[in-house]
């Protein structure tokens, strides 16, 4: 029984991980860098047979930071609760620091947490400019959408706010990775929620920035759970699993981004098993 439970848990985590990354900017996934450098594999719990990591939207500015300063400053902001320490030593984002520093010898990575769970994109957008300036950020990890959709922020306003902010970041040579909306069954048919989600996908596509699709990951997890009649995971467990794997895959996305190359044509995400 215990073993079955463990297998089910691993399966869920695998699914989350696969989907999180597979939908990133709708891009193909690779486990290696662009110049043949092989990245360390993701932990077993986040590993997915037949589907490897990472979107290849370039992150040119952190690549320059690596080359010139051997130091990368990452700003984590938006409606995220990933600043919680969670089950990972040092917090979820410590995974990113550790991974990048071990992959690139001599590289110093600093992640500054300025996320507030439930924060609207417009509030975060105001803070992003200040925080980027104060922390000399090279990369912004921006989790957004869920709070705006729940607060009934008009989609057009959301679109404009996020687009302007990304444009500002690009203009100031700061890379950005968007972490998308959360999934819950009651929002599947919510037109406004889905419209915000679509808007975020369009923004990511328009600006050619990486988007991590937590919604898609958690949706598949939910479906598998239903089909297999598993013991339901609590929302906290879903959050935890997706944050852990999100951090693992974000780390590899950034690492892949450090081996800069031009973006390749987009491919649809692979289906999970």
């Amino acid at each position: 029984m215990e073993r079955q439970g463990q297998q089910a848990r691993v399966r869920r985590a695998l699914t989350i991980a696969a989907t999180l990354v597979a939908v990133a900017a709708g891009a193909p996934c690779v486990v290696h860098g662009q110049r043949g450098q092989v990245l360390a594999p993701v932990p077993k719990a986040c590993e997915t047979p037949g589907l490897s990591v990472i979107a290849d939207s370039p992150l040119p500015n952190i690549a320059i930071a690596l080359k010139e300063r051997k130091k990368i400053n990452i700003l984590a902001i938006g409606a995220t609760s990933a600043s919680l320490r969670g089950p990972v030593s040092g917090g979820y984002y410590a995974v990113i620091e550790r991974f990048l520093e071990s992959t690139f010898k001599g590289l110093d990575v600093e992640v500054v947490h300025r996320g507030v769970s439930g924060e609207l994109a417009s509030d975060a957008a105001e803070r992003i400019k200040t925080e980027v300036a104060l922390n000399d950020a090279d990369l912004v990890l921006w989790q957004l959408g869920t709070a705006d959709a729940l607060a009934q922020v008009p989609v057009a306003d959301f679109f404009v706010t996020v687009s302007h902010t990304i444009a500002w970041l690009k203009e100031h040579k700061v890379d950005v990775i968007l972490v998308g909306l959360r999934y819950t069954r009651s929002m599947v048919r919510d037109l406004h929620y889905q419209a915000v989600r679509t808007a975020l996908q369009e923004i990511a596509k328009d600006h050619n920035v990486l988007r991590l699709g937590r919604y898609e990951a958690e949706e598949i997890l939910e479906r598998i759970r239903r089909e297999q009649g598993d013991v339901p995971m609590s929302q906290a467990e879903v959050s935890e699993a997706s944050y852990v794997c999100m951090a693992e895959y974000l780390a590899r996305a950034i690492a892949a981004g450090l081996f800069v190359r031009e973006p390749s044509p987009l491919k649809p995400p692979e289906k999970s098993p």
Binding site: S81, V116, S117, T146, Q152, S186
Partner: protein, 362 residues
Amino acid sequence: MPRPVNAVDFWRGFALVSIFINHIPGVFYDRFTHKNLSASDSAELFVFLAGWSLRHVVGKPEDPTPLHQLIFRLGGRALTLYAAHMMIVMLAIAMLAVSARLLDNPLLLEWHNAAAVFNDPVETHIGLVLLSHQLGYFDILPLYVVLMLLAPLIAFIHRQAPHLLVPVSLAVYFSALVFKLTVPTWPTEGQWFFNPLCWQAVFVLGFACSRERGPGGWVRANIGWLRLGAAPILIAATAMVWFDWWPDPTRVPEPKLLFIAGKTFVTPIRLIQFLALIAVFSALYPVIAKALPILVDYLSLLGRNSLPVFCAGSVLSLAGQIVRFYFRAGFFVDTALVAAGIILLGVTAWLAEWRDRVNKPA
């Protein structure tokens, strides 16, 4: 008998209504609050007036409240604020939990920095009690608690050397800006939304301006000139907000916080604009009182009972957000919400005064 209507209570009531509306993000009437034309918002006004009100506790220069009494009274006030804060935070957490259950939507548990409460309850409850974890929109009372605990020291410095208080306060303020000093949060990593090292300056300026001795006396003697100087600052700041002419934070020199706009640090741009705003708008009160006495009565009623009204407003704002989510926000829902909220704030204030009347010995 409640105290008669006055400018301080009126403006405090104004700030309370603005805060109530601003704390329902996306609500239609948010666009009509003064933050849309101002670099500062109601938070500065509220904290400044809290500092102003400290004069009632400190006593007149010729009849000062003894220091030990001051410490006990302000300590008691800090305790009351702390208890009020804990009560509304617990109510907010319960409201989010009930809404998540009834609406079958666990995402509501992540609103307003509440995710940690549900995902990491052991450490976060310790953080709530220590004020190191704060819910979004429920973060101004912790600042008040700190300011009340500091208030005896503020009063003491003012009593001993009235001209020294503002320089000392500004020295702390600028040190925080130059060295980016903040108060960290725990268990989530971050910083207090209202940095007390900076916001104490707003509080101290409010207190100093209320006094006849020291800077307050100078302000009263020169208010006409100050208003003349403040008007162009106000116009320039309004244009900056309206046309989005904020300085680019990446292009300003170090120390950057001296030149950019930021609420957490109530940076000089916000502080100077706010001082200009009160210099100019303080002249308007007699006009408003004459033209709109009912409005002045109502807002003064709210302002006289600021703590219960603020607490009710915080809870009502959250209720408003949940209602907006459930009923799908629109003009009519927003109108009903804001109207009901403002009426309920009035009922809260009236009940507070009614209770005081009933409890008062004949």
